[in-house]
Amino acid sequence: MKTVAVIDYGMGNLHSASKALEHVASKDTRVIVTSDPKVIRQADHVVLPGVGAIRDCMAEIRAKGVDDVVHEVVESQRPLLGICVGMQVMLNHSEENGGVDCLGLMPGRVKFFGKGLVDETGEKLKVPHMGWSQVQQHRDHPLWKGIDDNSRFYFVHSYHAHANDDAMAVGRCHYSVDFDVALARDTIFAVQFHPEKSAESGLKLLENFLNWNP
């Protein structure tokens, strides 16, 4: 029996992520929503979701000791998937909430889209960036298998990520600015969009994650 731990640190809706993982998981895989470090340590695959304000997310991550467990998961080279704010917290720092230091699993920063955004034709762009945007597969990765380049995924966010090292940027998007929406390093994969809400492309990515044994 394989296990997938979806880390529950009290921030938001884990139902969608766990249901989508169950939907694509093989019969011998169990999806467990948990905050128990013991369960997370023993899981074969680990998912770090996150919604809401990053300050609150980081506070809960620290309060529940999730930071230590996540570092252990990375050190023991088990596949780790970050989703949305779960991706942003993997970088060094976010400028949200007046500036928040994050986990630093991948060097990079999270910035605000800003107000009064316009596109190339002068059309106003709303913030949050909400809806289906195309993701350019900047680099090959096992998690892109079976997903067409420039497929659309569902996004909801007001802050965007930038890896310091371009080698880690595996997916990019453009919304007034270019930013990184999929980052990878060793056994870590992290996405800004919501694969659990991105219909077939998203389910395929989750399936690829569960089949990923780097």
Binding site: G12, N13, H15, V51, G131, Q134, N150, Y175, K197, A199
Partner: protein, 257 residues
């Protein structure tokens, strides 16, 4: 390579059943919201909205169960509206698998509820539904007011000011229904849609009045809506979602096809 405009079919759900039956010929149970949502997902709907019109409080558990089933089977964003009055209602729906909740009347009577909800759960899942009606007379500058109780009760609140206030309090999105147009199928009220979309930074969903595909195009192009919500034109099989998307794309609107 940008953000696609969204098409959102809306289902009125009463005690776990779709009201005003959806007419897909090859669907097993057109009264089951989950079955209908699955079908819309297959057709390429960008999101689904369930509007709970269940009258009795006891029957609301049925909606929770419906949302749970939807979240286990259909993997696109789901908004649940109707009867969201307390923080506990939001928690229940989000835990059941809704991605967003839509707050309507409760916001009018208690605007701070929107702030409390956004603080607690994040703006990304708080949609504020605004029912607006034109109150200016001909010859006067356009003015729209917020109405409650299905468009029967005026509140004296200016629609544009109100939308701005909702944004400040933490709404992540506005679902704007024009009460003059709702069910009439003469098209969205472009004036109020445009005015609110121009006044806000957050996305605006146009609702009420879509009767053909040109109305969807107008909602986006003239009304500057970020998404269009429609019910009957899809439910009764007049148009399919792929048809609507192809038509809008042909008019130069970026769509997820």
């Amino acid at each position: 390579m940008g953000l696609a405009k969204r098409i959102i079919p809306c289902l009125d759900v009463d005690n776990g059943r779709v009201v005003k039956g959806v007419q897909f010929v090859d669907i097993r149970d057109a009264g089951d919201p989950v079955e209908v949502a699955r079908r819309y997902n297959e057709e390429g709907a960008d999101e689904i909205t369930f509007l709970d019109i269940t009258a009795s409080h006891e029957d609301r558990d049925t909606m929770v169960h419906t949302v749970e089933r939807m979240a286990s089977e259909v993997f696109i964003p789901l908004t649940v509206g109707g009867g969201i009055r307390k923080v506990e209602d939001i928690r229940t729906m989000l835990n059941a698998g809704a991605d967003k909740v839509s707050i309507n009347t409760a916001a009018v009577f208690n605007p701070e509820f929107v702030q409390e909800a956004a603080d607690r759960f994040g703006s990304q899942c708080i949609v504020v539904a605004i029912d607006a009606k034109k109150v200016s007379l001909s010859g006067e500058p356009d003015r729209w007011e917020i109405f409650t109780h299905g468009g029967r009760k005026p509140t004296g609140l200016d629609a544009i000011e109100w939308a701005r206030k909702m944004e400040q309090l933490g709404a992540g999105e506005i679902l704007l229904t024009s009460m003059d147009q709702d069910g009439v199928k003469n098209g969205y009220d472009i004036g109020v849609t445009r005015s609110i979309s121009d006044a806000l930074e957050i996305p605006v969903i146009a609702s009420g009045g879509a009767g053909n595909l040109d109305h969807l195009v107008e909602g986006v192009k003239k009304g500057k809506a970020d998404a269009v919500l429609a019910a009957s034109i899809f439910h009764f099989g007049e148009y399919s979602i792929p048809e609507a998307k192809a038509y809008m794309a042909k008019q130069g609107i970026e769509m997820r096809i």
